[in-house]
Symmetry: D2
Subunit: 351 residues, 4 copies
């Protein structure tokens, strides 16, 4: 019963096999190999666009490199207060961006609403050069609350950003989980809605350590190769990071894995609901948040369930965590099995 | 006949197997797993010392993180003019070190001699605060010319550095290749000779993407966890980077792989020598440099041999590259086979 | 009727005279002169402490250099949401601090309350290395709302900071204005209350361009000389920045100038109050904030009054800016004359 | 007999008077004043070009801000090995430029020769993204050896730089001294010869603390205001830095002051030559270098002469410093008097 994170799962078999296959023979390093070139091409096909692709081993690297590349050091990057880049990357965007500033925004369900964003931009006018300059908005798809942005929501945010000369970044660590829920193509959910640069995650979805920074406008990516290299994120035996993406994207593997994870989350939500523990936010991907009475929580722990207790300032209006209750995050993945879900739900329901 | 780099080889079977084995079950991410803890312990045992270990996916990351951690932004890091950190990392040490300065030193065979180092420090006295402050010396073991430092050479450099309050960093991307040639234990070749922090490479030796920053004094490593995280170099599914090191170090695998690579280099050197093409520098590890007449070079290319042409300012006294000749670097690895060596030597000898 | 800022005033005559006097003869640059040494000594006497002093030409430089020196790049510096370092320095602390993070806090009257600070620290526990590490609290004395911290308020904040291993920085751009209001010595209002490093301003008080970073513990200042130099803030003809401070501090000039500015603010507050426009926050220094009906505002503008309209999220509970009203900031200085005050108050009262 | 530096002199009377005059009344800060606007216009007139001007208090700031603005973090800035930016700014360009790399070049008389520069660029081809990218050449006019670049020399360097997409920066801390020696207009000696950005010094020439970054192409200066502000180099009472430049440039004051300094250097050179101590490099500005026998040096010291002993690797071919001899740098300024020159020369000649 491990629901601690999607990174507690291992590697999907399709991807592990690909690593073994990729081990054949001698191949040039640093991305000068056919597998890498194929993956770059494949990502372009999936997004129906000529894209510039940079593979890196971690999501923090993908986010920080992407943001630093679309923001000057005196830029302000707006994001939800509880976004991963704000709370969990130890200042990576600020480091890569030579001291750029993250501006945290409130928003129910860890989503940034268009009017919140627009209002937050208001003070950034007419006070040059004393103020930082709004340079990017970063949204997480899936959000940290497990909610997802619809294409029209993204488009509304993009319109505001672009009107101010800002770029729209999407932290797509769980993009697949959003896509299989949305009735939208990868293109529709990203650049057609206004996304300029995407952190396209594979690790949480089933890879070992593989993320891609995808620029939907090649011009925007100029000298990104140097930025990646000097950050130590150009993997030398590059075929192996490419092999992961290759397998992940082949035959819709990524979408299949994400569908499973989402289905497990739905099943978990249903189980909890039956136990009178309705999820805090709509379960739209592979994250389920629930408020558990202390007794339930203790029973789960005792049974060996693993998950994290969370604190959040963006609960739905009217929802509060009572004394003795705890907010917990339960994460499913490609590796989660129905039996584990049912076991957890069963224990929760026992009360 | 691929002699382009040790990173054109794939992954050693022992290590690939370990990755497959590590895929079992759910495991906490970010290094909070038993495999990681075991590797950290094992590295301590190998170096006979209580060490602080930080695994990262690339050598550039290891070097830059290590140097940034032992140097203030106004520090000067001395290194050979042709060291990897000076010529091949696109300014990573400067980036991680917030603008620290690399001072390149000459030296035959890509090695820094003690008196060269001492002389280079001379101007850095009495001109505070206008000058940067010497903070570290970085040496490559094996050097970029394939030569190695003897423990007493290291000790002489360390003595000079320590007398100035500087730290000694070793870029050990090919440390194993040096160790199996030296009659010295890992401890004797590092901290006992005065090394303070080591980039301990496994990738070139046979891993997929695994390097370790090893501090021989734990106090020196304070807050290195934050530095690594914010650089995006804390791998989330950390067990897989640990698994590589675990297999690499188990049952002397690393030394066995290195011995093979070195033996292949020796065989290659012998073959070239017989062809009248004696190596430029003593072959002490897995790098062989030779000056090839144009005709030989073309024959090798035509036969499909892969390697890089190099330029160097640190040739032995009296050695020069004649017009029409080229200096080539031939790298062997755990995956190099005798037949390839013999084939290359044979073609070279045909003239 | 210029109330736009204390930096719209020129230079106090005592200080201008000192510049002229300092122009005699040849003197070593970069602070190696007697005037500089005398000023450093004098600041120590005033604060009754062995201090390390670094003169710089701007307040932004003083703040950013000070904060960068007491915070690692992965540090979090807490400050009021509307502090100058947060809103008006274009990310200088983040730049100097290699990407440190500023955490904005709410607080009535632009002051950070001890319990607000303590609560804000709560989430920064147990999530290493994913989180930044709280490293410093910065408070503005006088605050941006013109309010001042009492020594016991400072001590309460310092106690919380120090218990977490954090440093307390004071942005004392208007320290003199606070001191002449408080019944406290410079020592009591700073290090005796727990301040570790002070940006000691003279510019707003009547100098041309002279600020001092004052460390109350010399050990904390190690290598600050290099930090200042490399930031371009070591003035070459240093005697002239020293001369400003020398005159500013001589014969209580600084306190006399501040007393005048404060008295002008009091007079202004009284005048506005009589006109039914009571200041928004208690007038404790040389800043007066008032909510003006549009008509009054227009009358003042028409009469040539200069000041800035402000927006604030830290108004006293119950105070709101009605539609058509504006919040204005009126700043007095050593150069403000009673006649100007009375004229402005008269126009305001005319309604 | 103070020949230590041009910054040991005080402020020229014209400039001090201007500071006193500028003290009248209230004036908006941060450069929003008429004096500043006038100076910006005046600099444009002098250079016969629409320029973007940014005043800053120090030469290190001017250089570092300028270089950071025309170089990406992965850029390489080429400069003479003994250039001020390389040896005397404690890594300021690296700090401002987020870790850009300075590449030092040899060159007699502290000048970079076109072929040296061209040859140094050679290795920077075809090794992306492992290498930094050549981004700028910085030349010092006057050089640190007191020599000057002719417009055609500058043009030759600019042609090489521009052909590689690099910018040409001129450190013009002593530009006036060069101009009055060259038979060239300010425009001819800068942008007409290919200079893209200039650090235009006034401090050494007679100001208190005033330098200007001058971009000869406005587009190149976009967001430089933010860069300056966040570096703490936007002076608040900005009229005073403007007033210095205003007086410096008015009625050819700057050229008159420079002519005097140069004449003093010429006189000094002549005096030394008569004493058998011919200057090491041609005296082209206000710096005189001589190799003094120990006995002469001691006599000068005993007589109270102040100057610095230097070390240089760029002596003219054939010139060497004998055992017991020292290389000294003697700097003249607007404030140097003939009597001092003659006294020094007399003492030197006494041997």
């Amino acid at each position: 019963m491990n629901f601690a994170s999607d990174n507690t799962a291992g590697v999907a078999p399709e991807i592990l096999d690909a690593l073994v296959r990729a081990n054949e023979g001698f191949v040039l390093g640093y991305g000068n190999d056919d597998l890498t070139k194929g993956v770059e091409r494949r990502i372009g096909e999936i997004f129906e666009r000529d894209v510039a692709v940079f593979l890196v081993p971690t999501g923090t690297a993908a986010n920080a490199l992407a943001l630093a590349h679309v923001s000057p050091p005196w830029g302000a990057v707006f994001a939800h207060n509880e976004a991963h880049i704000v709370t969990d990357e130890c200042g990576a965007p600020e480091f890569f961006g030579n001291g750029l500033k993250l501006i945290g925004l409130p928003g129910v369900g860890c989503k940034v609403a268009a009017d919140t964003f627009a209002a937050a931009l208001e003070p950034y006018r007419g006070h040059a050069p004393h103020q930082v300059i709004p340079s990017a908005l970063s949204i997480s798809q899936v959000s940290e609350a497990g909610t997802i942005y619809r294409p029209d929501e993204i488009a509304a945010l993009a319109a505001i950003a672009h009107a101010r000369g800002m770029k729209l970044h999407m932290d797509g660590a769980r993009l697949a989980n959003a896509l299989v829920r949305l009735n939208a193509s990868p293109a529709e959910a990203t650049w057609k809605a206004g996304v300029d640069v995407l952190s396209f995650g594979a690790t949480k979805g089933g890879a070992m350590a593989a993320e891609a920074v995808v620029f939907f406008d090649r011009a925007l990516a100029a000298q990104m190769g140097e930025r990646r290299k000097r950050a130590g994120h150009l993997v030398s035996k590059h075929r192996f990071i490419a092999a992961q993406f290759d397998a992940y994207l082949r035959d819709d593997c990524w979408l299949r894995l994400a569908r499973h994870a989402n289905a497990m989350a739905d099943r978990l939500a249903l189980g909890l609901e039956k136990a009178g523990l309705a999820p805090v936010w709509p379960v739209e991907a592979n994250l389920v948040f629930a408020i558990l009475p202390k007794a339930v929580e203790e029973r789960l722990r005792a049974a060996g369930a693993r998950y994290y207790v969370r604190v959040s300032d963006c609960l739905p209006p009217g929802v509060a965590i009572g004394p003795g209750d705890v907010l917990v995050r339960l994460v499913t993945s490609f590796a989660t099995r129905e039996t584990e879900i049912d076991r957890l739900a069963g224990i929760a329901a026992k009360a």
